[in-house]
Assembly symmetry: C2
Homo-oligomer: 340 residues x 2
């Protein structure tokens, strides 16, 4: 049996399509007897409204795209959880778009060859530059997440990465570290994320009067614990010595912890280590990881606020919002008495 349409329900109930539509959408001004009659027809026909028809008529799909490189990276999966939950509360569903951090896929996010599928886009670029983002066609609202340089025309939410990197770096110095390395940026083609975190790291070193030494920068081949562990092992083999390690992200820190343990180097006795993101695993490493915790709920909430405003027609210059972060202290770089 073919699926029932609104029209079928109207015929069975003996009313117009408009009235059925009113009942389906919960419009209040329908007389109880009409409503009951329509409801009976709906049940009888097992009618379910077709969302595509509705979307074409209203111009809205209730879909939001969430785009970033790779959902299997814990930070993104935790972000996706948060966005998805908050989006549902606002009546939206989330379409997953993975770019693998490729230029081609990131370009496709801001200038898709199709229209009308999603009402808005939440996008964390990995490598796409501000100017290319600015050139996007602008017919679907976009809010940018994360560290990428955002064009003036586009909304953007992030935490203050430079401040956070400075905080963890000075914390390591406060613990007595004098040779503080940085782990996990790209070997070439620095991502915006690495760029701002390195900037904060440098500021922290300078504030503490510690030398800034490019020999202390340990790049990694990929955003993964495996690449980071390899990089640390290789650096140690080449004779690099350090007593503090600021990691670009928790994945890198987890790899570093493993590589240091394998080399017989103790954390935090010999080297103090910080991560970034406070992913779930960060409390289960041994020792636990001191790390930067962004306020994910605020980040997702603020981004959704902005996106909904754009969807509703807001059409002024891009808003650039900062949300809070905190440093969570665990065994890899314990809190000082003055800290919490």
């Amino acid at each position: 049996m073919a699926r029932a349409r609104l029209q079928d329900v109207a015929e069975v109930a003996g009313v117009s399509m408009k009235t059925v539509s009113n009942v389906v959408r919960g419009y209040v001004h329908v007389s109880p007897s009409t409503r009951a009659k329509v409801q009976r027809a709906i049940d009888e026909l097992a009618y379910r409204p077709n969302e595509t028809g509705r979307s074409l008529a209203t111009g809205r799909t209730g879909l939001l795209a969430l785009a970033f490189s790779d959902i299997s990276i814990p930070y993104y999966s935790e972000l996706a959880r948060c966005v998805s939950t908050l989006a549902r509360d606002r009546g939206y569903r989330v379409l997953l778009e993975q770019t693998d951090g490729t230029l081609e896929a990131e370009r496709a996010i801001v200038s898709t060859s199709e229209a009308g599928l999603v009402d808005g886009v939440l996008f964390q670029p990995s490598i796409l530059g501000s100017s290319e983002i600015a050139r996007h066609r602008g017919d679907v609202p976009v809010v940018l997440l994360g560290e990428a340089q955002a064009p003036l025309s586009v909304d953007h939410v992030m935490i203050d990465n430079v401040a956070a990197a400075r905080r963890v770096t000075t914390h390591l110095a406060g613990l007595g570290a004098t040779r503080i390395a940085f782990l996990g940026h790209e070997r070439s083609g620095l991502s915006p994320t690495s760029r701002v975190r390195l900037a904060g790291y440098q500021e922290g070193l300078e504030a503490e009067g510690l030398p800034v030494d490019t020999g202390l920068l340990i790049p990694s081949g990929a955003v993964s614990s495996a690449s980071a562990a390899e990089a640390v092992t290789a650096a140690l083999a080449e004779g690099l010595r350090f007593d503090g390690l600021v990691c670009r992200d928790d994945l890198a820190a987890i790899g570093a912890l493993r590589a240091l343990a394998d080399a017989g180097i103790r954390v935090p006795e010999d080297v103090v280590v910080t991560g970034w993101d406070d992913v779930a695993m960060a409390s289960f490493t041994q020792p636990g990881l001191t790390t930067v915790r962004p306020d994910l709920a605020a980040l997702a909430g603020r981004a959704l606020d902005m996106l909904e405003e754009r969807i509703a027609g807001f059409d002024e210059l891009g808003r650039h919002a900062l949300v809070d972060f905190e440093v969570v202290y665990r065994g890899s770089a314990p809190a000082l008495p003055t800290e919490d």
Copy 2:
């Protein structure tokens, strides 16, 4: 300026809508000169086809729902990565649906109150029973993933959980463990996943002639490392002793490793431990985790095959497919000389 429609392009190019549609969809039998004329109009108007209009006309949206409890659980995020990548190769996009493992949300997956949004559904139930799944309305194709009991009418893909649990249990016995505990099932309302893994665990114990003792079952409050760690710590405090530990999943195993280390119990010297899923973190615990690795690509690929067949109209009884798994040996329960 309002967005251009197919009709606008047709007018500018001086051809019919049908011809524009042919060009847009890459239909071959269009004369080069007509194609060029149409392409010029498309570029001039910055025309992009509206997917909602197309969907309404074709009855397809190119969207697949991927439903499970929580995307921030590493197994699910790794599964989502795999499904999303394979789906794109087949021309589909993925809509994320989180159920939080609640009955209400799981029911909504199999009997949504709307239709027409997705062409098919990939669903890993956490608690929904076979009979409720069987009652689903059947107007959108569904393929079930994971351990839930599937109704005869519905396609289903999983690994042989009983066999895998038996394998890891006998492996621990082969390493000399005689008091092998199980960690991570629900305190009440056993999930299908826990049920089959416990069954294999019991079979393994019996095959080895080891006593089956309910005192060795350590339930956990949630699917998380934190709950598992708490449970192990509490069990140890109550005097439970064991020399082998089969964990329901890697998250539980990671929590166990932490709790055991905190209690001064060495792995693998005092207790040998196995996990399940081989999530990315499983190679970065200390020691690394011996664990069951399902063939995710085969799982996702087979499920998508089945779903595409259903979408194409296949309408027979449910197929129940098993895909491969392997046991990956790492430090927490090293391979025996005879194994690999």
